[in-house]
C-alpha cells in the first residue's frame, strides 16, 4: 500500500534538499534533486496502481470541518497519472531553458508538482483549495520570473487576475456546499448534495462555471490564455496547458457532474452551446495564427471545449471520453510545446512563415512533430481518437446538433497541416542549412511522451479502468 501523502512528503524532502543544497553550497545540481524526487513519485504512483493507495485523514479544525484528508475520489487516478508523469518529462525542457535562479525555480516547480497531485486527491475542500491556490501561485511566479522578458509582466498579472477570480468563485462554491451540507468532506457533500435546493444548485453552477470557463479556459473567458501560454517559459507553458487547465475539467466533473447533476442537466443545452461555440470560434481564430506557440495555445482550447461538452452531456460516454481526452491531451500538448521550443531553439523564431524545409535537417524532430500533430488531429490508434468519439457519442445522444462541433475539427485539420507544411516541408533556407537534429536525451523525452500517446490510443481501456477507483 502506498500512502497518498507520500507524494507531498517527497516534494517536501525535495524542497528542503534544494534549500540545503544552496545554503551549504553543495555541488549537487538542482535538476538532479528534482529529478530524483519526481522519479520516486512516478515509481510510487505506479506501485500504488499495483498495490493500492492508502488514504489519510487527520482532523485539524473541527468547527469548520477542516481536516488533512487525502483519498481517491473515483476520478483521481487518471488525473494523478498526468500530474505525476508529465512533469517528469518536462523536467528535461526546464533543464535546458532555465539558467537563472535555478533553486527558486525548482522550488516552485516542486511546489506546483506536489500541489497539482494533491488537488486531485484532497478529500477535504479547504485542503483542496489550499493546494489549488498553491498550484496557481507557483505557476504565476514561474511566468512572472522566468517568462519572456518583454511580455511576462503583463501576461502574469493578467493570468493572476483571472485565476484569482476563478479561485474566488470556487471558494464561494465550497462555502455554499458547506452551508447546505455542513461539511467540507467530499464524500459527505456527495451524499447530501441532492438535498440542496435547486435554486441554490443553479447559483453553485453559475459560480462553478466562472471557475471552469477561466481555468480550462473556454470562450469568452479565455483572454488570459494566449499571452500567458506564449510568455511563459516552455516548461511553464506545458504545466499550464497540460495540467493546470485540467483542474477546470476536474472541478466540473467533481463539483458539477457528481454534486449538482440536476442543475447541470437543466442548463445542459446552454453548457453544450458554450462548448460548441468555443470549438468553432477558436478553430477560426487559430487559423489566423502565424506564431507556432500561439497556434498550439489556441488550438488546445478546442480539446478543452470537447472535454467540457463531454462532461456536460452527463452521460457515461461523454464523461469517459472527457477523461480520456484529458489524459491524452496532456501528453500531446506537452509534445507539441516541447517540439515548438526545439524549433525555436534552432531557428530563433516561432513565426512559421520564417521556417520551412526543416525536415531535411532534422528527421527525428520532424517524425515526432508529424506524429504529434496527427495525434492531436485525432487519428485513430493515437490517444485523442477514442476520447473524441466518446465525447461526440455522449453529446449526440443528448443533443444531436452537437455534431456541428465537428466543423471545428475539419477547420483544425487545415491549420495543423499548414503548420507541418510551412515548418518542415518545402525548400530549406540557407541560414538553416547547418542546423542539427534533436539530441539523444531529447529523443528519449519525446519517446516517453509518445509512448503514452500510443498506449492510450491502442488500449484506451487502461485509462478508463482508472476511472471509478476509490479506496
Amino acid at each position: 500500500m502506498i500512502y497518498l501523502f507520500s507524494f507531498l512528503l517527497m516534494a517536501l524532502i525535495g524542497v528542503i534538499a534544494l534549500i540545503v543544497n544552496t545554503f551549504l553550497k553543495c555541488r549537487l545540481s538542482e535538476e538532479k534533486i528534482v529529478a530524483s524526487v519526481i522519479l520516486a513519485s512516478v515509481v510510487l504512483f505506479f506501485s500504488g496502481l499495483v498495490f493500492g493507495f492508502k488514504s489519510i485523514s487527520v482532523q485539524l479544525v473541527s468547527s469548520i470541518d477542516f481536516s488533512f484528508s487525502l483519498q481517491l475520489n473515483g476520478f483521481s487516478l487518471p488525473f494523478m497519472l498526468i500530474a505525476v508523469v508529465v512533469p517528469a518529462a518536462v523536467l528535461w525542457t526546464a533543464h535546458k531553458e532555465i539558467k537563472q535562479n535555478k533553486t527558486l525555480f525548482y522550488i516552485f516547480y516542486l511546489l506546483a508538482y506536489a500541489s497539482l497531485i494533491s488537488v486531485f486527491i484532497s478529500y477535504n475542500l479547504i485542503l483542496l483549495f489550499i493546494f489549488w491556490e498553491a498550484a496557481v501561485l507557483s505557476l504565476f511566479f514561474i511566468i512572472a520570473f522566468w517568462g519572456d522578458q518583454k511580455t511576462r509582466k503583463g501576461a502574469s498579472i493578467k493570468f493572476l487576475v483571472f485565476t484569482q477570480l476563478s479561485s474566488l468563485t470556487l471558494l464561494a462554491v465550497f462555502i455554499l456546499f458547506f452551508s447546505y451540507t455542513g461539511s467540507f468532506n467530499l464524500g459527505v457533500i456527495q451524499q447530501l448534495s441532492a438535498l440542496i435546493p435547486i435554486g441554490i444548485q443553479y447559483i453553485i453552477l453559475s459560480l462553478l462555471l466562472v471557475t471552469v470557463l477561466i481555468k480550462m479556459p473556454l470562450f469568452p473567458l479565455h483572454a488570459w490564455l494566449p499571452d500567458a501560454y506564449t510568455s511563459a517559459p516552455t516548461s511553464g507553458t506545458i504545466l499550464l496547458s497540460s495540467l493546470l487547465s485540467k483542474m477546470g475539467g476536474f472541478a466540473l466533473i467533481i463539483f458539477g457532474f457528481e454534486m449538482i447533476p440536476s442543475a447541470m442537466s437543466g442548463a445542459q443545452p446552454f453548457l453544450i452551446a458554450i462548448g460548441l461555440l468555443t470549438v468553432i470560434y477558436i478553430s477560426i481564430v487559430a487559423t489566423a495564427q502565424r506564431d507556432l506557440k500561439r497556434l498550439f495555445s489556441y488550438s488546445s482550447m478546442i480539446y478543452m471545449a470537447l472535454i467540457f461538452i463531454g462532461i456536460s452531456s452527463l452521460t457515461t460516454f461523454g464523461v469517459d471520453g472527457a477523461v480520456l481526452l484529458i489524459v491524452s491531451h496532456s501528453f500531446i500538448i506537452a509534445l507539441l510545446f516541447i517540439l515548438s521550443a526545439e524549433l525555436y531553439d534552432r531557428t530563433g523564431t516561432y513565426d512559421m512563415s520564417k521556417m520551412g524545409g526543416l525536415a531535411s535537417k532534422m528527421p527525428v524532430l520532424s517524425f515526432f512533430f508529424v506524429f504529434s500533430v496527427l495525434a492531436v488531429m485525432g487519428v485513430p490508434g493515437l490517444s485523442n481518437f477514442v476520447g473524441e468519439l466518446l465525447v461526440f457519442l455522449g453529446a449526440y445522444s443528448v443533443l444531436p446538433i452537437s455534431l456541428i462541433g465537428l466543423i471545428g475539427v475539419i477547420i483544425s485539420t487545415n491549420y495543423y497541416l499548414k503548420a507541418i507544411k510551412s515548418t518542415l516541408f518545402g525548400q530549406i533556407r540557407a541560414t538553416f542549412s547547418k542546423l542539427g537534429d534533436v539530441s539523444r536525451l531529447d529523443t528519449l523525452q519525446l519517446l516517453l511522451l509518445s509512448a503514452f500517446v500510443v498506449l492510450a490510443g491502442v488500449l484506451p481501456g487502461l485509462i478508463l479502468s482508472l476511472v471509478g477507483a476509490t479506496i
Binding site: A288, L393, L459
Partner: protein, 580 residues
C-alpha cells in the same frame, strides 16, 4: 485467426526503421508475400463459410466497444487483391526508388498496405473507420514524400484535407449509427436498416456518401487525386489500384443496402455519370501522362459507382478488381517511361523520338483496358457494369465509352509516337510486374464466368455490349485520325482551348478561393479576438493604476497587513453568517 493477414505488414512497419538499405525492401515484400499467402489460404478455408471474429476493445459504462473482422468471400477476395497488387508495387519500387536516400519509404508503404488490408477485413464500422483514417494519413505522407519541393508538399496537404472532410462525415455517421442502433457491426447495421427512422437514415446515408466520394475522388472532391500525382509513381500505382480510392468504392459496396434503403440509388448514379463525363473530358486535354491516368481512375471509380447504383455490387467489385490490375500496370509503364525519358509529358515523350521498346505492348493492353476493348479483361468487366442498365443509362454509357476510348488512345498514340533505336529496360524488378499484370489483363476475362460463384454478380452479353464496343472502336479511330495521323490539327488545338476553359483549374480555383476567403475571415476573427484580449489587458492595467493610487495602504507595515487580512476575513465570515 483472420487478423493474421495484417500482422506481417505491421511487423514490417515496426522492423524497417531498425534495418538498413536493401533489407527494408526485402522485409516489406516478404511481409506482403506472407499476407498474400495467408489471404489465399483463408480464402479457401472460409470459402462460402463466412465467419466473424471479434474482440472487445474497451468498455465504457456497460457498453462494450468491439472490433470485429469478417472472413467472407468478398473480404478475403479483396485481401488477396490488395496483398497481390501491393507485392507487385513493392517489387516495382525496388526498381523505381532504387536511388532514394530517404529510408522511410518502405515503412510507410507497409503501413499503407497494413491499413488497407485491415480495412477490407473489418466487420466493425469502428475498425473500418480506424483503418480508413490510417489509409488517408499514410497516403498523405506518401504523396508528400518528396517534401523538399513545394508541389508534393501541397499535394499531400490537399489530399488529406479534402479526404478528411469525408473522414469527419464518416465519423459523424458512426456516432449517429451507434447512438441509434448501439452497434458498430456492419452485418447487424445492415440487418437493422429498416429500424432506423427515415430522417436519421437520410442523414447517415448523406454523411457516408460524402465519405465515399471524398475518398474515391469523385466530384466535387476529385482535385486531390490529380494533384496526388506528385507522389512517387509506385505510390500512385498503389493509391489508384487496390487501396485508398478503392476504399471509398468498397465502403459504398459494403453499405449498399443502406444507401438503397435511403433512396440514394439515383443520387449515386447521377454523381457517377456526371463525374465520369467530367473526368473523361478533362483527361482529353491533359498532357501529363500520370494526370491522364488519374482522370481515368476517377472515371473508373464512377463506373463502379454506377454499377453499385444499379444494384449490381458484384459488378462494381469485379470492375474494381480489373481496374486494380490494369491501372497499376499503366502506372508501372508510366514510371518506366519516366526513368527512361525523364518526363511524364506525353508530347515530350513523343518528341523524344526514341523507341519505347517492348513497353509498347503492355501499353496497348493497358490503354485498351481503359477503353474496355475485347479481348481484354476490362471488356468483361464492362459487361458486369452495364448489366442492370436502363435504356437511358445505356445511351449515356455509349457516349462515355466513346470519350473514354478517345482520351485513352490519344494518350497512347501521342506518348508512343514513332521512334528509333532500342532502349530496353533490363531491370527485372521493372519488367516482371509489368509482364504479370499484362498477362492477367489479357487472360483474366474468363474469371468473370466463375466470379458469380464467389460474389453474386449480374452480367449480360448482348447487343448492347457489341454496340458499346463499336462506340469505343469509334473513339479509337477518331483518336488515331486526330492524334496519330494528325488530321485536323486545328480542331485538336481548338478543342484543347475549349477544354482549358472548363478545365480542372476552374473548380480548383473555386476551392482555392474558398480557402483564401476563409483565411481572410479567420484573420479578421483573429483580430477581433486580439481586441477582446487587449480589452482585458486594459482592464488589468486599470486595476494596476488603481493599485498604485492606493499605494498609501501598502506602507510596508506588517502589522497593518495582518490587521487588514483579519478584518477581511471577519467581514467574509460575517457576511456568510448573516446571509446563510
Amino acid at each position: 485467426m483472420i487478423y493474421l493477414i495484417v500482422i506481417p505488414m505491421l511487423l514490417a512497419v515496426l522492423l524497417i526503421p531498425f534495418v538498413s538499405g536493401k533489407k527494408s525492401f526485402l522485409i516489406s515484400s516478404v511481409a506482403a508475400a506472407i499476407s498474400l499467402a495467408l489471404s489465399s489460404f483463408f480464402f479457401f478455408e472460409y470459402f462460402n463459410r463466412p465467419a466473424i471474429e471479434s474482440v472487445t476493445w474497451f468498455t465504457s459504462g456497460s457498453i462494450k466497444f468491439t472490433l470485429s473482422m469478417s472472413a467472407s468471400n468478398l473480404t478475403l477476395f479483396m485481401a488477396i487483391l490488395v496483398s497481390f497488387i501491393s507485392l507487385l508495387v513493392l517489387v516495382f519500387s525496388n526498381f523505381y526508388m532504387r536511388d532514394e536516400p530517404q529510408r522511410r519509404y518502405y515503412s510507410e508503404m507497409s503501413l499503407f498496405i497494413f491499413s488497407m488490408l485491415g480495412l477490407v477485413l473489418s466487420n466493425s464500422l469502428l475498425l473500418f473507420y480506424v483503418f480508413w483514417e490510417l489509409v488517408g494519413v499514410t497516403s498523405y505522407l506518401l504523396i508528400g514524400f518528396w517534401y523538399g519541393r513545394e508541389a508534393p508538399a501541397s499535394a499531400g496537404k490537399k489530399a488529406l484535407l479534402l479526404t478528411r472532410i469525408g473522414d469527419i462525415a464518416f465519423f459523424a455517421a458512426l456516432v449517429v449509427l451507434f447512438v441509434t442502433l448501439r452497434t458498430f457491426s456492419i452485418s447487424t447495421i445492415l440487418a437493422d436498416v429498416s429500424a432506423i427512422g427515415p430522417a436519421t437514415l437520410s442523414i447517415v446515408a448523406s454523411l457516408l456518401f460524402i465519405a465515399v466520394i471524398s475518398k474515391s475522388a469523385q466530384f466535387p472532391f476529385y482535385t486531390w487525386l490529380v494533384d496526388a500525382m506528385e507522389g512517387p509513381t509506385p505510390v500512385s500505382a498503389l493509391l489508384h489500384s487496390a487501396t485508398m480510392v478503392a476504399a471509398g468504392a468498397f465502403l459504398l459496396v459494403l453499405m449498399l443496402p443502406l444507401f438503397i434503403e435511403a433512396g440514394f440509388g439515383i443520387v449515386i448514379l447521377s454523381f457517377g455519370f456526371f463525374t465520369a463525363f467530367l473526368a473523361a473530358l478533362l483527361a482529353l486535354k491533359e498532357v501529363h501522362l500520370k494526370r491522364i491516368l488519374a482522370y481515368s481512375t476517377i472515371e473508373s471509380l464512377s463506373f463502379m459507382f454506377i454499377a453499385a447504383a444499379t444494384a449490381n455490387a458484384g459488378g462494381a467489385i469485379f470492375y474494381l478488381f480489373t481496374h486494380a490490375i490494369f491501372k497499376s500496370l499503366l502506372f508501372f509503364i508510366a514510371g518506366a517511361l519516366m526513368v527512361l525519358f525523364g518526363s511524364y509529358d506525353i508530347y515530350k515523350l513523343k518528341s523524344s523520338k526514341k523507341n519505347k521498346g517492348w513497353l509498347f505492348v503492355p501499353a496497348i493492353i493497358g490503354f485498351s483496358s481503359i477503353a474496355g476493348l475485347p479481348p481484354f479483361m476490362s471488356f468483361f468487366a464492362h459487361l458486369g457494369v452495364s448489366a442492370n442498365f436502363t435504356l437511358a443509362d445505356s445511351l449515356i454509357f455509349l457516349l462515355l465509352s466513346f470519350l473514354t476510348a478517345l482520351f485513352s488512345f490519344r494518350a497512347l498514340f501521342v506518348a508512343f509516337g514513332k521512334g528509333s533505336g532500342p532502349r530496353p529496360i533490363k531491370n527485372m524488378y521493372a519488367y516482371i510486374p509489368i509482364i504479370i499484370l499484362s498477362a492477367i489483363s489479357i487472360l483474366g476475362g474468363v474469371l468473370l464466368f466463375y466470379f458469380s460463384g464467389v460474389i453474386l454478380i449480374n452480367y449480360s452479353f448482348d447487343a448492347f455490349s457489341v454496340i458499346s464496343v463499336i462506340a469505343s472502336l469509334l473513339g479509337v479511330y477518331v483518336a488515331f485520325e486526330l492524334f496519330s495521323r494528325s488530321r485536323l490539327p486545328s480542331a485538336v488545338s481548338r478543342s484543347k482551348a475549349a477544354s482549358v476553359n472548363l478545365s480542372k483549374y476552374g473548380w480548383d480555383k473555386i476551392i482555392t478561393a474558398f480557402g483564401g476567403s476563409f483565411m481572410l475571415f479567420a484573420v479578421w476573427i483573429g483580430r477581433v479576438d486580439d481586441a477582446f484580449i487587449r480589452l482585458f489587458s486594459r482592464l488589468g492595467e486599470g486595476f494596476i493604476s488603481l493599485a498604485s493610487a492606493s499605494r498609501a495602504i501598502e506602507n510596508g507595515d506588517a502589522t497593518a497587513y495582518v490587521a487588514a487580512v483579519l478584518l477581511g476575513l471577519v467581514i467574509i465570515i460575517a457576511v456568510a453568517v448573516v446571509f446563510v
